[in-house]
Each structure stands twice: as structure tokens, then as C-alpha cells.
Symmetry: C2
Subunit: 350 residues, 2 copies
DNA sequence: GAGAAAAATGTAAGCGTTTTCATATAATTC
DNA sequence: GAATTATATGAAAACGCTTACATTTTTCTC
């Protein structure tokens, strides 16, 4: 199949040495115009392209980066990947996707699957893992970083000394509460995330802070934990409503992400709640379908594509700083002013 | 950064030749257990991993495939990619994504961007292109195939002698019409696709065939062309409705894909139509959000992930057959029996 | 236990580039 | 026009593996 000529063929046909061909190839200017032209003609005629493999042998840099993602099917990750891909491309790098497993599953030498490819750097998208798995991951990371630069994406413990791009989750949660409080809500639920997740801990911090600033009590039954899918979101809200007297039902829900928000819409509707009159919902990630849900979903746009791009920039820059990514609240129709007069659970103390 | 040992280091430390190390590495059985153990110990201790680059130099096969997609952001393509990725992985290959541009944009030697990477094969996802661009693409393909096996995905002209996995678009369209006719509809619109697209021609063929079988006339104003986004779908339907007297409005719409269907829902709602009573809508691709639209969208599930996987299988098999991919109609709430009694436009002839 | 066959290991030549260093050629200088 | 410097080119050694072939060691066989 490989009808490909080598640099030797070109050299022979052009009547020069391979060194000269190589120089022409890489645009060095120490080649006389006549020779260059001659060589270029042969290259064009034979459709010759240098093998990036062979190039990698000598030049030590493969000009390819990696990104490890939990899964690509989740539209978020597809967006991060796209952003990272574009960023890499802009710098003349290629971008390779690796599934989580490459990092954790390997019995033998984890992480090194990546090392084997001699990537010039890798972006790693962090997600919650149970403690012992997380422990393994940390070790993999340590190991991996001996081989190539690493940039972390997502909510990373401050103790981590890796270059990182993340969201200020606390900030997002706090602002969202603030927004809902501004609409008159006082019974605000937070749905999604793993209870033990550091990430969500920070979300929780912001949530509590927002409530506190509005002089609202933190109500434990308004905090539900669940995975990031629509089904799980639907179940979580359903369970919350079941456990509460309708009078105490939240009037607003902050969902982990848009998928969870979609599930909440579904549950609410099945329960006969009017949206958004009886329940305001805020999602996160601003998926492409958010505007087409009924009611159109208000969501935090986390600019995931940009996130991917910035991760590449950081990776290539070689710096080790931690960066916060921007986000914006996109207001649509899923949030309405709270109608129920007196907020429940408001105690004398507040 | 590259703290990596080479095969020489391992050999030296284990007191054997590099050939032996290589043999241990590749699990050849002509190595005595004692030696193997010794070498493996050193490998483990030094965290050694052979460079896939150097491997590629000799073994001619890089164990990496490519897939070129119009864009990854579209959830469909993300699914195809995921499927292809998994398929490749299962066979021990890696999968690299390339944007369309790698194939067409290049002034100099198109296609060869891919050749440069010495892929073991490439999957190409076809999409409509205006004639002259398409011409260029065809040439790129011809050129590219000299270097590596190619598999095409999507609706490819029968004249193409490439191995292909595609949908029988005519079949899908015909069945969809049949389904809607079964619900009593006779004013069935088809929205989406490029007028000049071969692909959609086949869709059109099925559409017409379905109408014919139901003894319904083909009405030109029920056929609108547009791109594959929600916005374009919304605009297309809006324009169609504007151009028609309400009495002649279609009672059912077959949309190019779910995005277009979402746009149609939007337009219909803005026009004050009740969904699905006044307008039934069928989408295509069965995106994850389809069940959460209001009304939940009936859609053709094209099993895109499977499509990607099958493309890999076909690519690796080396066969040149053309395969048809499976699809299924997923019924949800967006299609209802037609209520308007007498279908318009039905002429004596029918 | 000598000779033959089988198994284990080593040697060295690639693979297709880049790159250093040497060499040949051309352009300067006086 | 000889000496000097700049410029253009070539020869050859890496890069880290695989693999055909040669060689050594072990295991049979009678």
C-alpha cells in the first residue's frame, strides 16, 4: 500500500543528497534557489511527504498532544475536546483523545500507555473518583508527569501543584443562588454531584454562602446528590419531592448540569408542576439543546470549548499557573419570580 | 522531560542483548523463563515503555487509524467518533480525528496530510459539497487511497467503488412517510438537505415513493431545503408556512435530523400550532435530548455509534463490500393521528 | 558421550528522518 | 589573483526499535 517514496528517492531523482532534500523540506534558507526549485519539483511530482514517524525519531518532539476524557459522548466533553483540538492545531500540534481507562485501569504500569506514545504533553480532565481509585490516579499522574507536561482541567484540590484550568465552582453556585434569591426564591434546592466529591464540596460551599448572604437557612433536604445524567437528575428530584410535604417543596432548583436539569423538568412535569411558575430551574453548561427545551433552560455557560483551548495554551506555555475559566449565566425562560408568599423554613433567627 | 530509558538501557541492566529485550517485550516464546523474568524485572523497575514511534519505524504498521469528520461538535459525529474509537481500541488501534479541511483545504497536496501520518487506514465521513469542491474531494480520495485503505461513511453514490457503510436513505424516508400515512396524514412535508445533494436525492426518492404508494401527490411546496441546524430548520418551516394558506399547511413534517426537528417545533409553537395535534414531527438520529423535548420527539435512531464501529471493522477487514447500516423508528409523542378530515391537494387523478 | 536437532541468545542491518561536521564552491577583500 | 570568508552541499552518525541470520547453548537420540 505504501507507495510512498522516501527522502532517498527524492534525493536520487533530484541529483542531490538527502541532507539537501531535508533542508528544502524544512524550509532552511541555506539552499540555493536553483537546487530548491529542482528538489521541490521532484517532491511535487512524486507526491512525496516526509514520514512524521521518522521525523519523530530524531526530533524528539512528536508535535502531538493528548487529552484524557471520561467520555466523549457527553456533549460537554465533546466540546472540550473540540476546543483543545483546535487549540492544538493552531500551534501545529495534533490532539489525541484517550479514555479515562488509560490512566486508571491498567494493572501493570498505568499512565504509561500515554508515555508510550511520546506525546509532547497531555491535558487531563478530572472527575470524581472514589478515594482508593483517586489514590491510584494521583500516583499515575505523578508517574506520568515524569514523562511529559501535564495540565489539569476541572476542579482540582488547591493542594495540587499541577498547572490547572478550572472553574470557581463556589463562585458559580453562589451567584446562581443570588440570582434565584433576586427572583424571590427562598427554597432553593441543589441537585447533583457525588457527596464525597471535592469538586462538589466547593459547589456546596458557594451554595451555602449564597444562602447565608441572603439570610436563608441551609436545609439538608434541599441538597440531593446524583450522577450527571438526565435519568439520575429526574430520580433525585422525584425522591426529594416525595420526602417533602408539598408546602415545603423547593421553588427553585440548581442542577449540576443541563442533563440533570432536563431530568428535573421531566419530573416536575410528571408531578403536575407548572414550569417555570411552580419551579424555577437553572442548568449548567448551556448545551445546544437548552434553548429548545420547554421552558427554554436558563443555564450557566461554561464555555467549554474555550476551556479546552486555554488548556492547550497553558500546556504549551510551560507555565505552572492555575487559571480560572470564565462563565456566564444565560437567562432564558426556566426561571420565574417566586410566587408563594411566605418562604417556608424561615425561622425567627433569620 | 524524557526520562525514558531505551531498550539498550534495559538490555545492559539485565545483562542481555537488545534483541532479547525486544522479544520479551513482544511476548515471543523463544525466551527462557529465567531470562524473561530477569528482563521483566528490569522493565518494571525502570518503568520502561517502548517508544511507539521507533516501533512504527520498523514495523511499517503504526496501529493507528484516522477518521475525518465535518465537525465534532455535532453530537452525531461525536457518536460516530466514539463508536469508531471504541472499535479501533478493541483491535489495539488508536483513532485519530481529522477535520474535513485536511482533505479539501490544502492548496498543495491535499489528502496527504493524512498520508504523512502513516495511518493504517482512514474512515471518511462524507457530506454534501458543492460540485467543484466535491470534484476536488474525489481526487483527494483517489490520491489518498494509494497510501492507505479507506472506508466511506454516509450516503455515497453507488458508482463509488470504495468500501462503504451507509444508510438506505430512500428506505428510511419511505418508511417514515408510511408511518405518517398510517396516522392519517396526507400533507407531509420533508425539510432539510441540500437541493443538489446526491444523498438527499435518495432521501427524496424514498419520500416520493412513500407518497406514491399511499396514492398521495408530491407537492413541491412541501419540500424545503436547508442546512442541518435548528435555526435553519426553524427558518425553513417558517418560510414554508408563510408561503401556504393555513388550510394547506402540512400536518406532518419529516426533518433531516433532530436539530432541524427542534427548530420546527420552535417555529410551530411560535405560530401557535399545537404539538402534536396540529403538526406531527419526525426527527432523525435520536439525540440524547429527543426524549426531553416537548412533545418528546419521535425520531429515527441511526445507531451512529454502531456505525462508527462497523466502519472500523470493515476497514480492518480489508474487504471492499458496501454495507447498509441498521436504523429504527423510535416512537415518542411528537406524532399524532391526523385530525383534519379531507386531505388537501388530493386530486381526482389519485 | 558423540553427533544432530532444537532452543536461546546475540549481531548487525535496516526503517526514514534530522543534524553535526567536513568539504567544495562561490563571493569577497586587499 | 591569492587569501579569506560566506555559502551550498554532502557524508555519516544518530534516534529506538524489529528482525533475519549467525552463533552459542541446551536437549535429544542411539
Amino acid at each position: 500500500m505504501s507507495v510512498n517514496s522516501t527522502i532517498y528517492d527524492i534525493a536520487a531523482e533530484a541529483g542531490v543528497s538527502i541532507a539537501t532534500v531535508s533542508r528544502v523540506l524544512r524550509g532552511e534558507r541555506s539552499v540555493s534557489p536553483a537546487t530548491r526549485e529542482k528538489v521541490e519539483a521532484v517532491i511535487a511530482r512524486r507526491n512525496y511527504r516526509p514520514s512524521s514517524i521518522a521525523r519523530g525519531m530524531t526530533s524528539k518532539t512528536t508535535h502531538s498532544l493528548g487529552i484524557v476524557l471520561p467520555k466523549l459522548l457527553n456533549p460537554n466533553y465533546a466540546m472540550i475536546f473540540t476546543g483543545a483540538y483546535d487549540g492544538a492545531r493552531r500551534h501545529g500540534y495534533s490532539m489525541n483523545m484517550f479514555p479515562w481507562k488509560s490512566l486508571t485501569d491498567q494493572r501493570s504500569t498505568p499512565a504509561l500507555l500515554l508515555a508510550e506514545r511520546r506525546l509532547d504533553g497531555v491535558i487531563i480532565c478530572l472527575e470524581y473518583l472514589p478515594p482508593e481509585e483517586n489514590e491510584r490516579l494521583m500516583r499515575s499522574l505523578q508517574e506520568l508527569r515524569q514523562y511529559m507536561p501535564i495540565v489539569l482541567i476541572g476542579c482540582v484540590p488547591a493542594a495540587f501543584e499541577y498547572p490547572t484550568i478550572s472553574y470557581n465552582m463556589a463562585d458559580i453556585a453562589r451567584s446562581t443562588v443570588e440570582y434565584l434569591v433576586g427572583l424571590g426564591h427562598s427554597k432553593i434546592a441543589l441537585i447533583g454531584g457525588v457527596e464525597a466529591d471535592r469538586d462538589d464540596l466547593r459547589r456546596d460551599v458557594g451554595y451555602r454562602q449564597g444562602l447565608e448572604e441572603a439570610q436563608l437557612p441551609y436545609v439538608d433536604s434541599y441538597r440531593a446528590y446524583c450522577g450527571g445524567t438526565a435519568e439520575e437528575g429526574a430520580a433525585a428530584l422525584d425522591q426529594m419531592l416525595s420526602s417533602l410535604l408539598p408546602a415545603h417543596w423547593p421553588t427553585a432548583v440548581i442542577a449540576l448540569n443541563d442533563l440533570v436539569a432536563m431530568g428535573c423538568q421531566d419530573t416536575a412535569r410528571k408531578r403536575g408542576l407548572r414550569l417555570p411558575e411552580d419551579l424555577s430551574i437553572v442548568g449548567c453548561d448551556n448545551l445546544f439543546c437548552a434553548p429548545y427545551l420547554i421552558p427554554a433552560l436558563t443555564s450557566i455557560d461554561t464555555h467549554q470549548q474555550l476551556l479546552g483551548q486555554k488548556a492547550v495554551e497553558l500546556l504549551l506555555s510551560g507555565e505552572t499557573r492555575r487559571e480560572n475559566a470564565a462563565w456566564t449565566l444565560v437567562r432564558r425562560d426556566s426561571c420565574a419570580p417566586c410566587k408563594s408568599g411566605e418562604p417556608a423554613f424561615r425561622t425567627a433567627g433569620y
